[in-house]
Subunit: 194 residues, 4 copies
C-alpha cells in the first residue's frame, strides 16, 4: 500500500520533470525554418534528457518492485533522487541555451552524477532487505552499468572543458548503455560467451 503511493508520487514528479522541459522552448520571433535553427541545441539536449528521465523512470519502476518494507530512510533516499532529477530541466536548458558551453555541459554531468549516486544509495538500502544470495542481490552484484556510469559522467565533466563533442559523446554513451537491453550489450562489454 505504502509503496504504491511512493511509486505514484515519484511517477507524478518524473512525469512533470520530463514535461516541463518543453517550457524552455520559447516561441521564436521569426516564422521560418531559420528562426527554428536556434532551438536545435535545446531540442537535442531535451531529447537526451528525455531519454535519461525515461531510463530512470523505467529502472525506478523495477527497483521499487523489490522493496519489502518501506521506512523513512527509503522515502528520503527516494526524495533525494527526485531532488537531483528535478534539477535536470534547468541544467538541460542551460546546456542547450549556451550551445554546449563548457560549464553548463559540465554542470549537466554533475547533476546526472548526483542523481546516479542517489540511485545507488537507494538501491543499496533496498538491497539490505534481501538475503545476500537472493536473485535480486546477485543481479545487483553484477550491476556493471551502475558502476561504469559514474566513471563516464566524470569523464564527461572533465572533457567538457576540452571539447563539448567528446563530453556529449559520453552522455549519449551512458544513455545508450542503459537504453539497449542488457543481454546484447553485456556480450560486447564482458566479451564472454554467456
Amino acid at each position: 500500500m505504502k509503496v504504491n503511493r511512493m511509486e505514484a508520487f515519484s511517477d507524478g514528479v518524473l512525469a512533470i520533470i520530463i514535461t516541463i522541459m518543453v517550457l524552455e522552448f520559447k516561441v521564436p520571433e521569426g516564422h521560418d525554418w531559420h528562426s527554428l535553427a536556434g532551438l536545435v541545441p535545446k531540442i537535442l539536449s531535451y531529447a537526451v534528457s528525455f531519454v535519461y528521465v525515461g531510463i530512470y523512470w523505467n529502472n525506478h519502476h523495477h527497483l521499487l518492485h523489490t522493496v519489502r518494507t518501506l521506512h523513512g530512510k527509503l522515502m528520503w533516499l527516494n526524495l533525494l533522487l527526485l531532488f537531483w532529477l528535478s534539477l535536470v530541466p534547468f541544467s538541460t536548458a542551460w546546456m542547450g541555451e549556451s550551445e554546449f558551453a563548457a560549464t553548463p555541459t559540465a554542470l549537466y554531468g554533475i547533476v546526472l552524477l548526483c542523481a546516479a549516486i542517489s540511485y545507488t544509495l537507494l538501491q543499496q538500502a533496498i538491497l539490505k532487505q534481501h538475503a545476500p544470495d537472493s536473485p535480486f542481490a546477485q543481479a545487483m552484484g553484477t550491476d556493471w552499468k551502475g558502476k561504469v556510469s559514474p566513471v563516464l559522467y566524470v569523464a564527461a565533466i572533465g572533457t567538457a572543458y576540452l571539447n563539448a563533442w567528446v563530453s556529449c559523446f559520453f552522455y549519449v554513451l551512458v544513455a545508450v548503455l542503459w537504453f539497449v537491453p542488457d543481454q546484447r550489450i553485456e556480450r560486447v562489454f564482458r566479451s564472454d560467451p554467456m
Copy 2:
C-alpha cells in the same frame, strides 16, 4: 501491475501536456475585448490541440488494455509517442503566435505525423502479442483511420505553404475523423452498407 504504472505515467504526462498549453496564453496588457482578440488564433490552436491530445489519451487508453506482456521495447515506443506529443504545446504556441504562418503550420503537422507514426509502431508491437485471427488483430487490419491520417498530415504540411486555411482544414478533418464514433463515419467513407 507493470502496465498500470506505464498507464499512470502516460496519463500524468498527457495531463501535463494538455494543461501546460494554457501557460502560453499571456495575460494581455489591455483590459477590453479588443486586447483579447490577439489571443484568438492561440485559443483556436489550443482547442484543436486539446482535442488531439484528448483523442490520443482516449485511444492510448484502449490500446494499453490489449497489452499482454510489457517489455522494454513497448516502454520505449510508449516514451517515443510521449516525446512527440510533448512537442505539441510548443508547435501549437508557435502556430498560434504566428497567426498560422506557413512554417509553424507545417511544423505542427510534422509533429503530429511523428506522433502518429510512433503510435502505429506501438500498436504494431502490441499486435505481435496477439494471434493474427484475434479480434484485436482483425480490428487493426481495418484500421483505416490510422492509414488515412498520415496522408492527411502530409497534405496539411504541403498546403501550409499555399494556404493556411486549407492546411488547417486538414488538421480539423483528422481530428473530426477520430472524434466522431466509427460506425457513422465509416459508412460515409467506405460507402458500403455494412
Copy 3:
C-alpha cells in the same frame, strides 16, 4: 477499470490547473510588504478560483462514482468540462492583473458559465444510465444549485460593467452556495421546515 483511468486523468488535469495558477504570481521587484500589495488582487482571485476548482474536483468525484457504462460521449463531455476549467487560470490571472476591470471580470464569469454548462451536460448524460425513480435521478431532480448557478453567473457577467464588487459578490456567492453543506443552506433558501 475504465472509469478509474478517466478519474485519474481528470484528477491529474485538475491538480495541474489548481497548481499552475500560482505561476502567475511573479516575484515582485521590491522586498517589502508594500511591493506585495500589488499581488493582493491576484491572490484574492486565486483563492476564489482555488475554491471553484476544489468544488469541481469534489463534485466530479461524486459524479463519476455514479457512472455505469463508460462510452465515448462521456469521455468527450468530461474533456469539454476540463477544457473550460483549463481556461480558469488564464481568466483568473487576467482578472487579478487588471484589478477587477470590467471585461476580465466578465470573461471570468463566461468561463465559469461554460464549465457549469459542460458539467450539467456530463451529469445529464450519466443520468440517462439511471432509472427515473433511482435515488441518483431524484437527487438530480432537486439539483437547485446547478440551476441557480448559471443565473448567478449571468448576473455576475452583466454587473461586471456596472460595479466590479457586485460582480465579485456573485462569484463568491456561488462558491459559498456549493461550499456550505446542503442541509443548512437549503433551509435558508427554500425556507421550508424540512
Copy 4:
C-alpha cells in the same frame, strides 16, 4: 475508495508544487560558474522547501491512512492545507531572489505557519473519528513536534527583521526536527531515558 482519490489528488498537487519550484531557476545569461553564483540563494531556498514539501507528503501519507470516514469537512481542510502549500513556491522564489531580505524571509514563515495550522486542523478533524484511548489518539497526544513547530515559525518570522541567518536557522531546525526519525530526537529534547 474515496480516500484513495483524495490521496491521489493530494499527491498530484504536492508533486506539482515540489517540481514547479525549479521553473524559478531562470537560465543565467553567462556560461561560467560565476554566473551560476547568483542562483545559490535560490537553490538553497529550493532545497529547504523541497525537504518541507517532502515532509508534508510523508506525514500526509501516514495521516490519511487513519481516516475512517471521508466527509466534506475533511476534503476542505485537506484543500486548505494544499492551498497554503501551493504558496510555498512563490514565497521560496521571493526569499531566494531577495537573497533572504527581511520581509520575504518572514513571509516564508507565515506561509509555513498557515500550512502547519491547516495540518493541525486536518489532524484534529480526523482525531475525532478515533476513541480517545486509541493508539492514534495517544500518538497525537504526544505530538510535541506539531506543538513546537508553530513556536519556531513565529520565532523565525520575528527574527527575519533582525538577522536573516537566525531566521533561516529556525527554518532549517524545524525541517531537521521532522526529518530525523522520532526516537533519536525525542531523547535529546525530552531528555528522559525512554
